[in-house]
């Protein structure tokens, strides 16, 4: 079977494709039903049920424990093994996930669900070749004529085929993702056009902007910008925006590639400069992060913030740091956790380690400056906050924090200058920070007061706030 990444769509047409598609749909349904029946015979319902219930209730650690018991109790149950693997993957226990996916695959090599999950897991950890191999095997489970249609039917027939065979659309979409993550945007776009995921002549970028303006669900907006990236190679703004979103969410690898692409295609020198700066201060410059390390970071963050699972999060953050020692974000979260536990010195140490790993990390300087300020170590705070606004001049919150630190040291002229700059910047964004204005007015009128100036962190730069 040819590699899925090199699928060439023929321009030939055939008749009665709708009939064929319907037949395929029935066959697929039967196939899946049979697989489920086969596995259901050995299900240990109690622990699996408990795992499901716990997961749905958001008790993820408990869900994993129950899934482990279920798999231990029924080592030949494909469903139990897959459930354990899925929960382990969800919790960032990737070695365990891999082991149990493998066990499930050994028991049911042609199980569509197992193949699909295994492929998805492989993408998560950056094992793209394995993912593609699994997708090939998944495709091979489909009847010959479906495969034939999938590979050779003209583009205008593909929407119907994919609609009638959602598994085929999964295959296409995952392949597109793999291509994008590997940096082969041209091939990803080709595939998207070949399967009519995007169509020539559509203004996806305008559509995405419209969705955003109209307050559509985030997921819809996100999808719309992805389509713009695939369907409009010249839509630099949308590509750039898509990259920023990905980076905000923690998908730094793909985000980085998209920001690079948006920067490349934008005709504006200012945008090119902005993109280059973004890469340097937000995405580690030339320091690339492995996919596994990125995903461990993402999941660790969830385990900490969503589940309150500090021990689990710490382990995953540390593993992420071990795999990608120049990736700044896990250091930042280790510092946040240390601070959360009341260990501010520990937090300082983590941030300083993070700076050694990535000296241009805007976020690390910012956090370090604020932490020093909290500790009333103002000269050190000033140094890092100055660097913060030097790296990113539009960081009004960082500038207000700097202004406060300057005030605390009696550098009143510098304070006023920085505070006024921030206030003027924020006024452009309908973020008037009245408390700062009020403070400045009193300062102008009466000279320095006893209390330190307020240093709000306006939401206007919130997209930068969650590295």
């Amino acid at each position: 079977m040819r590699s899925p990444t090199t699928i060439i769509v023929s321009r030939r047409t055939t008749g009665s494709r709708r009939v064929a598609a319907a037949i395929v749909l029935v066959l697929c349904t039967v196939l899946v039903a049979a697989a489920q029946e086969r596995t259901a015979a050995t299900l240990p319902p109690s622990d699996l049920g408990r795992a499901q219930a716990a997961f749905q209730a958001g008790r993820h650690t408990e869900a994993l424990a129950a899934a482990r018991r279920a798999a231990d109790a029924a080592p030949t149950s494909v469903r139990a093994l897959t459930a354990r693997a899925g929960m382990a993957e969800f919790m960032g226990e990737f070695d365990e996930a891999r082991a149990f996916y493998d066990r499930a695959a050994a028991l049911a090599p042609d199980d569509a669900e197992v193949l699909y999950r295994t492929a998805s897991f492989a993408v998560r950890v950056g094992d793209y070749d394995r993912a593609l191999a699994q997708l090939d095997r998944l495709l091979a489970l489909h009847p010959r004529h479906v495969r034939w249609l999938f590979q050779w039917a003209p583009t205008n027939m593909q929407p119907t085929l994919l609609r009638d065979n959602p598994s085929l659309e999964h295959i296409v979409q995952i392949k597109i993702d793999i291509l994008m993550e590997k940096g082969d945007l041209a091939q990803a776009r080709y595939l998207a056009r070949a399967y009519s995921i995007v169509k020539t002549g559509e203004n996806y970028c305008a559509h995405a902007n419209e969705k955003s303006r109209s307050g559509a669900a985030r997921e819809e907006v996100f999808t719309a910008f992805r389509l713009a990236t695939l369907g409009q190679p010249d839509a630099a703004d949308c590509i750039w925006w898509y990259g920023q979103w990905l980076a905000d969410e923690g998908y730094v690898r793909l985000g980085r590639l998209m920001v690079i692409e948006g920067t490349r295609v934008t005709p504006a020198a200012g945008n090119k400069e902005s993109g280059a700066r973004y890469l340097r201060i937000r995405l580690g410059g030339k320091r690339e992060v492995g996919k596994r390390a990125e995903q461990l970071f993402l999941i660790a963050r969830q385990r900490y913030l969503r589940d309150g699972d500090i021990d689990g999060a710490v382990r995953l953050f540390d593993e992420s740091i071990r795999l990608a020692p120049t990736f700044a974000r896990p250091y930042i979260y280790r510092a946040i956790i240390a601070s959360d536990l009341g260990d501010r010195e520990g937090a300082l140490t983590w941030l300083q380690r993070g700076l050694k790993a990535d000296p241009d990390s805007w976020r690390t300087h910012r956090n370090l400056g604020k932490l020093f300020a909290e500790l009333e170590r103002y000269p050190e705070a000033e140094m890092h906050l100055r660097k913060t606004v030097q790296l990113f001049g539009d960081d009004a919150g960082g500038r207000l924090a700097l202004a406060r630190v300057l005030y605390a040291q009696g550098k009143y002229d510098d304070f006023a200058k920085e505070a006024r700059t921030a206030v003027a910047f924020l006024a452009n964004f309908k973020a008037p920070v009245p408390e700062v204005r009020d403070f400045l007015a009193k300062f102008d009128r009466w000279g320095p007061g006893a209390a330190l100036p307020p240093a709000p962190d306006p939401d206007v730069i919130i997209g930068w706030n969650y590295d």
Partner: protein
Amino acid sequence: MTDRIGIALLLGTILALAPDPSAAETYRWVDGQGNVTYSDRPPQSQDARTPAPETRPASALPAPMVTPASAAMPGPTAMPVPAAMPAPEARPMPEAKPAPELKAREVTAPEVKAPPAKVPQAKASVPPLAAARTSPTKVDELLELSGLKAQLVGLLSRIAGELRPAPGQMSTSDQASVDRVLGQGLRHEAVYALVRDAFRLQVDRPNLEATATWLRSPVARKIVALEVASSEPGTEPQVATYAASLKASPPAARRVELLQRLDWVTGAHETSADIVAAISRGVSTAVSAAGQPEQRLRPGQIEDRAAQVRARVNEGLREVRMTSMLYTYRSLGDEELMEYVLFSGSDAGRWYNAAMRKALVSALGKAVEQTSAELVRTVPLERWARAAMSAPPPVK
């Protein structure tokens, strides 16, 4: 010349600390010049080209999945995954919130109105004027001149009142235990000692002497006497009456300006907010430590709560403080008030206010934490919870 707390604002702020979720979305785009720009609302103009939702997600919003494409995918139908189990690419991961909701059950302390405190009362009087002297001023002398001890009486009485359950909500024996603990833990002598110890750490001899000189001046004596008088327990009705009278005869603009300036140079308003935050921190720490291990708050969570309380109280205090200052200094002339402002803005005044602020915040936080810990040791949390549940709903 210590600051008085806006005690009325304590109730419902120290213990009712649920954060206000921010639902606002933030948008960001690249403008025509290529600058990354931001707004808290969707772009309205042609310049706003690439709006972005905020990074901090709404709680119900799933994050992108392992593969961004998958985020856009409908649920598989031909190749389903078991209905209730997490598919590996499933997106049950709402994006992390920087300020997560607490997982632990909210630890509630009694949130009840209380009768006047029964802490031992010291006579709230004007400190005696020290004789003219040549030897260095001691910290105790300075604090005596400042009227701190007398003002602590009123302040601690109010704090005790906030911590005491209303009559009938606890058994007689529990109520008696609470009164005993409050009486012991919030003794003004003990808290004064804490303040003094914290103040000593910040002594700057020239500034201390300059402050003492000011405090011995006739104007300062008058001011201290007024502050002590208005800090005495039971003055609230008089302040309320005075506040009501302001509607009919509002203060002169110059008076208001002077008091605003006084607040500015002393930082009194900020000190009040800091004290409220310290009390919140102390109560949260003690009550959390008495709870089940899995329900305990982490230090960072306690700090977050204290910061939230501070922010909430800060604005509310503004008006209360102005009324309170108008009342306290009502018999003081503008020129006298101006003298106070000038001293407070001097190096010595700035040092004194900063040192007093730190000392007060530290001492009151410590005293409240220790007292709260003793309260929940003496009367278990369950009984506090029952007492709180039996409290009548707050009057709206």
